[in-house]
């Protein structure tokens, strides 16, 4: 799968990211690094161990990282979760918001793994 195909599959646009980051090679490199970024697993662990503060920070990080890479859906759902957790405690919505993040994260990861090269 090419970069362009990857972004269309996710309903995003490569062009938008290219304007910001200039080079396809750079984008590909950071998508690769995204696989080893610990933010999502930290988020998951924080949910499992009932640690709202860490969950907030991880969601916040994920939101920024995803936005930089043009993974706007993931960034948007992470942002919703971030705001939900900002007061420092889990709410009735937290779990559902987390599942949305998980869905978008998995979609992105699956796509990245199928990239050429």
């Amino acid at each position: 799968m090419t970069l362009s195909e990857f972004y269309s599959t996710l309903g995003e646009s490569l062009d938008e990211v290219l304007v910001r980051l200039r080079m396809e090679s750079r984008i590909a490199k950071y998508l690769g690094l995204f696989l080893s970024d610990p933010s999502f697993s930290e988020l998951k662990t924080a949910f499992a161990s009932n640690d709202a503060k860490t969950a907030f920070r991880a969601a916040h990080t994920l939101k920024g990282v995803a936005a930089n890479l043009g993974l706007n859906k993931l960034s948007a759902t992470s942002s919703e979760l971030t705001e939900d957790l900002r007061p420092g405690a889990f709410t009735a919505n937290s779990q559902a918001l987390f599942e949305k993040v998980e869905h978008d994260y998995n979609a992105a990861v699956t796509g990245i793994k199928q990239l050429d090269g």
């Binding site: 200039r22 950071y30 995204f34 970024d37 990080t61 939101k63 920024g64 990282v65 936005a67 930089n68």
Partner: protein, 511 residues
């Protein structure tokens, strides 16, 4: 690539974010990274004057971005080092908080590479310009202080020499005045003396007797007691000086002029109103004049003059207490008592070359504490700290330090070194050795000097490492085997052959 590449500190807890920023910026800048607030603060402390810009994330473990900013404010770094915050944060209040804490710019994620580069460029350029301007001002102030203090010293020495005095009197008055002023400001706020004034009053104190240039030689240097007529003429040095200063067309409103006038005219007034020339009483006498007056009396008592021998420190204090040499403000007598123990050693170890530095420290201090024009110049602070540090280390070393510059060929020794080797603290080393014959050095000291010179004139090639030489010196009258560690500094200009500029040495006695 003429200039050094600016250094950027990237602070972000996410490795990917740091990598991306380095990636974008590393073609023009050197990058160091910190992965949390604490690490960032450590790097900031260590490399304060090297870091040109901080790119700071907002949400991090171990102190977040706002906490880092708060500490940067507390340490004054924020006005030295620009910070651009990069964050996906959208909460208005937090972004506003960052601006309030002094960030230059806020870049939202996702960021555009081109915009980021330009903002970084512009910010660094702006701060560099500002810094070079403030460095320029700093250097000029330092030069000016040095020159001012040198001029005043030259002037007052001329007067002292005509008096047949060594010139030490002026330096002593300076030191005593300073110590009394410091003590006084601890005890009372009544006289409204701030740190800046202390430096100015000390400088002005050097001029207390310049009116004596109007007194004829026969009276000024008469060995015996003056006749009442002669004394009347002698007393005129106060008003004469005031007249001279009045005639100076410039600087009427300058504090230095004001204090010099007060000191010259009124340093022979007495607290009980029986002094001269105006018979002022109590605090009618300006405080600067009161202080110089008591300093003058103390130093006159403890020094030998053409008409008297020197009294001991204790005897001098006793005489001042018993009003045998005038009547003084009781609070100043208290101050004199308080500094009495430190006074003797302060006067013995007076280091002439440090005087200009001292004035500089005062001005520096005053500038940094002036709330209206805060100057938190980091280089400035480091410069001052380095000097203090050098003085301190020197005082704790067992061995002997010397430093030598090749143009002009001057060797400087610390007080301890000068004492142990029997050499003056500052020596001009003439090429022509025959000039040496008539100096007052004894044989042992002359030998020491010769041996040091031999070390200085060794033909070496540029290298950065110190080297070791074994040499015997005459220390405290004994021939002592020593290790001499020597470091030579060469010019680094890439286009010319390196030139030896200075040599630093440490003589370690082997016992």
């Amino acid at each position: 690539m003429d200039e050094k590449r600016p250094l950027i500190l990237v602070v972000d807890d996410v490795a990917m974010n740091r990598a991306l920023l380095s990636d974008v910026l590393s073609d023009k800048y050197n990058i160091i990274e910190a992965e949390n607030g604490n690490e960032a603060l450590l790097l900031l402390r260590e490399k304060t004057s090297e870091i040109s810009l901080v790119l700071l994330d907002m949400v991090m473990p171990e102190r977040d971005g706002l906490e880092v900013l708060t500490i940067m404010n507390k340490n004054g770094w924020i006005s030295e080092i620009p910070v651009i915050m990069i964050s996906g944060e959208t909460a208005h209040a937090l972004i506003e908080g960052a601006y309030m804490l002094g960030v230059t710019d806020f870049i939202a994620r996702p960021f555009d590479e081109m915009v980021l580069k330009n903002r970084v460029n512009n910010t660094i350029r702006l701060y560099k310009k500002q810094k070079s301007l403030s460095d320029l001002v700093l250097n000029q102030i330092y030069e000016k202080t040095r020159n001012n203090s040198m001029m005043v010293t030259m002037l007052s020495h001329i007067v002292e020499f005509r008096n047949g005095e060594s010139g030490m009197h002026v330096l002593h008055i300076n030191t005593i005045t300073e110590m009394l002023l410091r003590e006084l400001t601890h005890r009372t706020k009544k006289y409204q003396i701030n740190r800046n004034n202390i430096g100015i009053i000390c400088t002005a104190s050097s001029m207390h007797d310049i009116g004596k240039i109007t007194i004829p030689d026969e009276i000024l240097n008469k060995p015996g007691k003056l006749t009442p007529e002669e004394f009347e003429i002698m007393k005129k040095h106060t008003v004469n000086c005031a007249q001279m200063l009045d005639a100076v067309p410039i600087g009427k409103d300058e504090p230095l002029m004001k204090y010099a006038y007060e000191i010259c005219r009124w340093h022979h007034e007495r607290w009980d109103g029986k002094g001269y020339p105006d018979g002022l009483k109590g605090d009618e006498i300006p405080i600067a004049a009161q202080i110089v007056s008591i300093a003058d009396v103390y130093d006159a008592l403890t020094s030998e003059r053409c008409y008297k021998h020197a009294y001991t420190h204790e005897k001098a204090l006793e005489m001042i207490h018993n009003n045998e040499c005038g009547v003084f403000n009781p609070i100043l007598i208290e101050c004199l008592n308080a500094i009495a123990d430190k006074l003797v050693s302060a006067l013995q170890t007076f280091d002439w070359s440090k005087q200009a530095d001292k004035d500089f420290f005062y001005i520096a201090d005053a500038m940094m504490n002036d709330q209206r024009h805060p100057i938190y110049n980091q280089a400035f602070r480091q410069f001052i700290d380095e000097r203090k540090k050098c003085h301190f280390f020197e005082s704790t070393l067992n061995g002997i330090l010397f430093e030598y510059t090749y143009t002009p060929p001057v060797m400087k020794l610390s007080s301890k070194a000068s004492q142990k080797l029997g050499l003056p603290k500052t020596i001009l080393i003439e090429e022509n050795e025959t000039n040496r014959a008539d100096t007052s050095l004894d044989k042992a000291s002359a030998e020491n000097l010769e041996k040091i010179e031999k070390i200085l004139n060794r033909h070496t090639t540029p290298k950065d490492k110190p080297f070791l030489i074994k040499q015997t010196f005459n220390i405290d009258g004994k021939s002592t085997p020593c290790n001499v560690k020597v470091l030579q500094i060469w010019t680094h200009s890439p286009n010319e052959n390196p030139v030896l500029t200075s040599t630093y040495g440490y003589i370690d006695t082997l016992q």
